[in-house]
């Protein structure tokens, strides 16, 4: 089969690889019909996530049709079922899964010993996201093996298109969880750093959860435009034009937003000496992540407010404003998305028309063009927001 393989930093190629096989009893093999490139795939693309091997198949946002099932699946999933697959691999039987903390599954990472060294304990394995997180082949391929297929994949109701449900695999639940962690109350103002796909869904979700006003922060006018027109943000801040802290004070009567969502993560962009400092430290491996958006969100948040982190961080950060968190009673919340929790309720939101996730799609390519898709998305060419690959 054909698959998008990570060959090196900024080098993704579509290669001919062997077809997947059933390895565990609850596996299913899916013929992928649609898959997307995620912003977090760009961290792999740019070489910021350790333990990638030449030839690793990428992709954790995918859906398709079941073509083979393992003996342990019983009748929970049948050949021919159309499913969308959550990006964390979760067994459903361990204590974490039973507490609905699916992205912390204790059994799904065969390489837990590597993750443990970096994180203390290991999180769940993920599709196509480094050997540290399992060494599972990803879904940017013609076929994919899905472990624990009785727990993860969501059957797609008849009449819904791939594009309507594809983002249930990751970014829609991720944006939603980012907003949910803010514990939004009536009258709350929420600021979202990063108006990429996850940021867009965080904005829309904050409104679904009752926010009074949502403010989007980015530097690309086309992304801020989409935040307003697509996701419904009330106001936008272009940090290349104005000071974020000043603008936020102006928009919130000087209090600061009640909740701040970091939908940027480890490769944040910024200005001035602090940004240069982070670039240098990251390049020298003295810190793995550049927390520019996170620092800004913490400083901007009103006292007693919540900072919700859904951007991906992989390791260590520097100059973390702990003093602001302690002295102003901030709550810091985070987590890889427990996608399994959110798929069904969000599917219902889509069916009811509360949200139409297709507004973020800007590019539809064939799987063969994955390499072009990565470079376009990474370089923000052609107002690229979201690339969907068809097989």
């Amino acid at each position: 089969m054909k698959a998008a393989c990570w060959m090196n930093k900024r080098d993704v190629r579509v290669e001919e690889v062997p077809d997947p096989k059933i390895l565990n009893s609850r596996d299913a093999i899916i013929r992928v019909t649609s898959t997307a490139i995620c912003g977090s795939d760009l961290h792999l693309y740019n070489g910021f996530i350790p333990t990638m091997e030449k030839g690793d198949i990428l992709g954790h946002e995918f859906m398709g049709e079941v073509v083979e099932t393992g003996p342990g699946l019983k009748n929970k999933l049948k050949v021919g079922d159309r499913v969308v697959v959550p990006f964390p691999i979760a067994c459903g039987n361990c204590t974490m899964c039973q507490r609905d903390l699916f992205s912390c599954c204790e059994n799904s990472n065969p390489n837990a010993y590597i993750a443990e060294k970096l994180f203390g304990h290991s999180p769940a394995g993920l599709f196509g996201y480094s050997h540290m997180l399992g060494g599972y082949a990803g879904g940017q391929a013609e076929y994919a093996r899905v472990p624990f297929a009785d727990i993860g994949p969501l059957k797609v109701p008849d009449g819904m298109t791939d594009e309507q449900v594809l983002f249930l695999s990751d970014i829609l639940p991720t944006g939603y969880m980012g907003a949910e962690m803010c514990n939004i109350k009536r009258g709350d103002i929420v600021a979202v750093w990063g108006a990429g796909p996850v940021g867009q869904f965080a904005i829309a979700s904050a409104y679904l959860l009752g926010a009074e006003k949502v403010i989007a922060i980015d530097r690309f006018p086309y992304r801020l435009r989409m935040a307003k027109e697509g996701a419904g943000a009330a106001e936008t801040i272009n940090y290349e034009e104005v000071s974020v802290q000043e603008a936020l004070k102006e928009m919130t009567g000087g209090r600061g937003p009640d909740a701040c969502i970091d939908a940027v993560g480890m490769e944040a962009h910024g200005h001035g000496p602090v940004y240069a400092y982070d670039r240098v430290k990251q390049a020298m491996m003295l810190e793995s992540d550049r927390p520019i958006a996170l620092r800004e969100a913490i400083l901007a948040c009103r006292s007693g407010g919540t900072v919700s982190v859904i951007g991906v961080y992989g390791g260590l950060i520097d100059k973390f404003p702990m003093g602001a968190i302690v002295n102003r009673s901030l709550t810091l919340r985070s987590g890889q998305t427990h996608v399994h929790r959110y798929m069904r309720p969000l599917l219902e939101h889509i069916q009811r028309g509360d949200i139409d996730p297709t507004f973020i799609i800007t590019h539809r390519l064939q799987l063969d063009d994955a390499s072009e898709g990565y470079s376009m998305f990474s370089n923000k060419q052609d107002e690229c927001m979201k690339v969907v690959l068809k097989t």
Binding site: K21, E53, G55, C94, N111, G135
Partner: protein, 362 residues
């Protein structure tokens, strides 16, 4: 098979703690971190490498923050070119220092330092020829770099030896010393279930990677066969020294074993409805010679990691009925995360205990 309802059984000589058979030979472990292997008499390049790692960071920071002072100290002219060179070297020093300190296996980074040393010596050689430098200071700096290079090479050799599985870098045939391993895991199953599964020693190879088979010969004794490199095997006879249903099993090899070893596993109910906390302790005394080298390889460079991996697989077998596999983990060595070309060697199976009569995974 022992069941939960059987009364407590104690074998002769088992009133002591299972680890007490050493007559106080093992050091007290109270208050120590649980995640450490204790290898008596083991001295490897790690300590030296760590020191070199910090040295790298210190020197790197000095070169970045105070290039002028350092230039004067080593006797080269303080001009823009030299400052830039200094900055580049400083960045390199920082990167290797962090690499040495943060990597699980720092050998590569230490050899990186050796490469850096060669570069520095070449630069100092150039400085020596230059008319603008203080010859005596450059000579002193060169001597210092030569000294550090020697240390780097020693550390690199020791670490490389270790990662090749020769234990403590000692010559083949030397004793590697008693190894003690202690690991814990929590399994979402009752003490009765996990005890019963473990008590049937013939189940152990399902999750202990290096075990080929265990054959139970009678109520107390069993014959263990472990995989060793190059297709060979190591065998020994073990006896149960203590068996407290749902609480503890302890065993040790009988007297004439090639590799004297003992082990115990404790089962404690986790707080709340959290399943069972399992603590495994293993102790083995690899002999000298070829067999010793083989055993060292068998238990791996990091026996704690090996045992923790076994416990993770035990948890998977208990909670899921089988060992979880990814596209990369089915290979013995590093392999890209893509499906294997070869047919799958181990077809999916639903193992013994946690599966009910209909074959449904519990």
């Amino acid at each position: 098979m022992t069941t939960a309802t059987q009364p407590e059984r104690q074998y002769s000589g088992s009133t002591r703690e299972p680890w007490d058979d050493t007559g106080g030979e093992m050091p007290a472990r109270n208050g120590r971190e649980t995640d450490r292997t204790e290898r008596e008499g083991s001295e490897d390049g790690e300590g030296l490498a760590r020191a070199l790692g910090w040295f790298s960071i210190g020197l790197g920071l000095t070169q970045i923050i105070a290039p002028r002072g350092l230039a004067r100290m080593i006797g080269v002219r303080d001009d823009e070119d030299n400052r830039n060179t200094m900055l580049a070297i400083g960045l390199r020093e920082l990167a290797t220092g962090v690499g040495i300190l943060s990597r699980p296996r720092p050998a590569g980074w230490v050899w990186g330092r050796v490469g850096g040393d060669a570069m520095d010596l070449a630069l100092l050689g150039t400085a020596m020829k230059s008319q603008n430098s203080d010859k005596s200071r450059v000579t002193a700096a060169t001597a210092a770099v030569v000294g550090v290079t020697i240390l780097d090479i020693i550390a690199g050799q020791r670490l490389t030896h270790n990662s090749l599985g020769n234990g403590s870098g000692s010559a083949p045939g030397a004793k590697t010393g008693i190894t003690h391993v202690k690991q814990l895991i929590t399994v979402n199953r009752s003490p009765e279930e996990v005890y019963t599964f473990w008590r049937d020693f013939e189940n152990l190879p399902l999750f202990m990677e290096h075990l080929e088979s265990v054959r139970v010969t009678d109520d107390r004794r069993s014959r263990w066969k472990a995989k060793a490199p190059a297709g060979s095997t190591v065998e020994w006879e073990a006896e149960i020294t203590e068996d407290r249903p749902n609480e503890l099993i302890a065993w040790r090899s009988v007297e004439d074993a090639d590799v004297p070893n003992s082990g115990s596993v404790r089962f404690t109910p986790a707080p709340g409805d959290g399943g069972t906390e399992i603590m495994v302790e293993l102790r083995y005394d690899p002999p000298g010679g070829k067999l010793g080298a083989m055993v060292a390889k068998l238990f791996g460079e990091e026996p704690n990691q090996q045992v923790k991996g076994d416990l993770r697989r035990f948890k998977q077998v208990m909670e899921l009925g089988e060992v979880v596999r990814s596209d990369a983990s089915i290979h013995r060595t590093m392999h890209p995360a893509q499906p294997s070309k070869k047919p799958v060697s181990q077809p999916p199976r639903i193992n013994g205990a946690p599966v009910n009569a209909e074959g449904e995974i519990l």
